[in-house]
């Protein structure tokens, strides 16, 4: 199916919007999704996710017979839908999911809230330093790039 926004590329993602009081669904391509602000690293869960996986594993999903003991999901199902079946799937399919999670999030570890605890205070030595540096650089250089035409107060 062609993208309903540009009419040129193949649609890989379905989005839902409220248009004139009605729920409306559109099929759009990855580049239009990005342009319209729907971009996710997994844009086009079905197709995008699957093709991303195949880069790692070829066309054969690993151990297709393995299923999660709690929800019954197979890895093939997770890859096809982009949805993990349950919390235990992260353990059951850890080996298969971790390369994908690293591709989505980098080698990051959780450094936010832990259940039952207070919000952590911002840490200068956090793993966000590269990101923060990039962000600060963007803010600094915003005058000629993002913020063309104005002086920064940063």
């Amino acid at each position: 199916m062609l993208c309903q926004s540009c009419g040129e590329q193949t649609a890989t993602m379905r989005i839902k919007e409220i248009v004139n009081g009605r729920l409306t669904e559109y099929a759009i391509c990855a580049s239009c999704a990005r342009r319209l602000g729907y971009n996710t690293l997994l844009s086009g869960l079905g197709r995008g996710y699957g093709s991303m996986l195949s880069e790692f594993f070829g066309d054969q999903p690993p151990e297709p017979e393995k299923r999660c003991p709690q929800c019954g999901a197979s890895f093939e199902e997770i890859a096809r839908t982009g949805r993990v079946g349950c919390a235990l799937c992260y353990e059951t399919f850890e080996e298969e999911l971790m390369p994908l999670i690293q591709r989505l999030h980098g080698n990051e570890l959780h450094c936010g809230k832990f259940p039952g605890e207070n919000l952590p205070q911002p840490r200068l030595q956090s793993q966000m330093i590269p990101m923060r540096e990039m962000l600060e650089k963007a803010i600094r250089e915003g005058n000629k790039n993002l913020l063309k035409g104005g002086e920064s107060d940063a």
């Binding site: 839902k16 919007e17 409220i18 004139n20 009081g21 009605r22 729920l23 990005r34 342009r35 319209l36 602000g37 971009n39 996710t40 997994l42 869960l45 709690q70 929800c71 999901a73 839908t81 949805r83 993990v84 349950c86 919390a87 235990l88 992260y90 999911l97 994908l100 989505l104 999030h105 980098g106 990051e108 959780h110 450094c111 936010g112 809230k113 259940p115 919000l119 952590p120 205070q121 911002p122 840490r123 956090s126 793993q127 966000m128 990101m131 923060r132 990039m134 962000l135 963007a138 803010i139 915003g142 790039n145 993002l146 913020l147 063309k148 035409g149 104005g150 920064s152 107060d153 940063a154």
Partner: protein, 338 residues
């Protein structure tokens, strides 16, 4: 009880509202796309019970989505209580919200729970604090799925980590007029943020939100969002000064106020164009007798499904446009140009 959007908020010249959303799941139930009917009910009952033990329990209203008409469900999305995706499939889903509609929890949508706090203007820190408190209180009885390395476990691996989305709704008519929004939206993607137009270019309303949830704390994500939004806002303010110095801008503001006060039929697209110009006029001191929060309240009230729900009967497109025009012209009686 006033709704959250009826109150004035800080930095409301450019920031209409802010929101913080936390995605949470139960460790022992399948995620929503694999839940059975009994799982869906169990999940709803757990949230209901846990919420009854929270400090503002008495203030929450409970809605079973499958009992709603289509217009009622769409109206919830128009009032930002849930996403269009949440109402696309209503079976087994529930919505809890406070009487001011500022605090809400969707159940059995993309995750078992999504806590959302909405506030006017830029009150991101307060919204995060409120979301965190509610999450902590719920967690005492619900035990959310969590791993030390991956954080909160979510149905989509995209949301792993904090499970948090923090967003600012921005009014950027001057940058829109300059044709800069496409470039800003593209630049923000590379920085780990998303900027998306909400009501089309006439309204010039955008939501800017974080995209990264793993490897960053909630507070850091909110600080980064605020810092970058501040730069966009500065740019908008400068462009707006320039825009207001042009005589045709003030002429447009006068013209759009007159349109809203006299129209008998008002399509949504025309309303949003007028809304955007008049909002600029309010902050430029060109309009007397109307505040930004009154105008923003009208913006929510005149959306099609919300109009239909208020009317208590189905309205076709033309009836909606007539009713919108009536409601607005009544509300704007006495509003004058300075």
């Amino acid at each position: 009880m006033h709704k959250w959007y009826e109150k004035a908020g800080p930095n409301s010249e450019t920031v209409l509202s802010c929101r913080v959303r936390l995605a949470r799941n139960f460790a022992d139930l399948p995620f929503p796309s694999k839940m059975s009917r009994s799982d869906l009910e169990r999940s709803r009952e757990r949230v209901k019970r846990a919420l009854s033990l929270c400090s503002r329990a008495q203030d929450y209203r409970y809605i079973l989505m499958e009992e709603m008409t289509e217009s009622e469900a769409v109206s919830f999305a128009e009032r930002q209580l849930c996403t269009p995706e949440f109402i696309a499939k209503t079976s087994g889903r529930a919505l809890f919200f406070t009487s001011d509609e500022g605090d809400s929890i969707t159940v059995n949508g993309a995750d078992h729970l999504r806590i959302q706090i909405l506030r006017t203007g830029n009150q991101l820190s307060e919204a995060l604090e409120t979301a965190d408190q509610l999450d902590t209180q719920l967690d005492r009885s619900l035990r959310f799925a969590f791993r030390r390395d991956l954080g909160y476990l979510t149905q989509s691996p995209m949301d792993l980590g904090t499970g948090m989305v923090a967003g600012l709704q921005l009014h950027l008519p001057a940058l829109e007029q300059l044709g800069e929004m496409d470039r800003i939206c593209t630049d923000l993607i590379g920085l780990g943020f998303v900027m998306r137009s909400l009501y089309g270019t006439d309204a010039a309303i955008y939501e800017m939100r974080n995209r990264i949830t793993l490897g960053i704390s909630e507070t850091e994500a909110v600080q980064n969002l605020s810092a970058l939004a501040k730069q966009v806002i500065m740019r908008e303010k400068r462009a707006r000064e320039e825009m207001l110095s042009q005589p045709q801008t003030q002429e447009k503001i006068r013209d759009r106020l007159s349109t809203l006060q006299t129209a008998r039929i008002l399509p949504q697209k025309v309303f949003f164009d007028c809304y955007s110009k008049i909002r600029v006029g309010i902050f430029a001191g060109l309009i007397r007798g109307l505040t930004a929060e009154q105008l923003d309240t009208l913006k929510i009230a005149v959306q099609p499904a919300t109009l239909t729900v208020q009317a208590g009967r189905e309205l076709d497109a033309k009836q909606c446009q007539i009713r919108r025009a009536q409601l607005i012209s009544t509300a704007l009686q006495g509003v004058r140009l300075c």
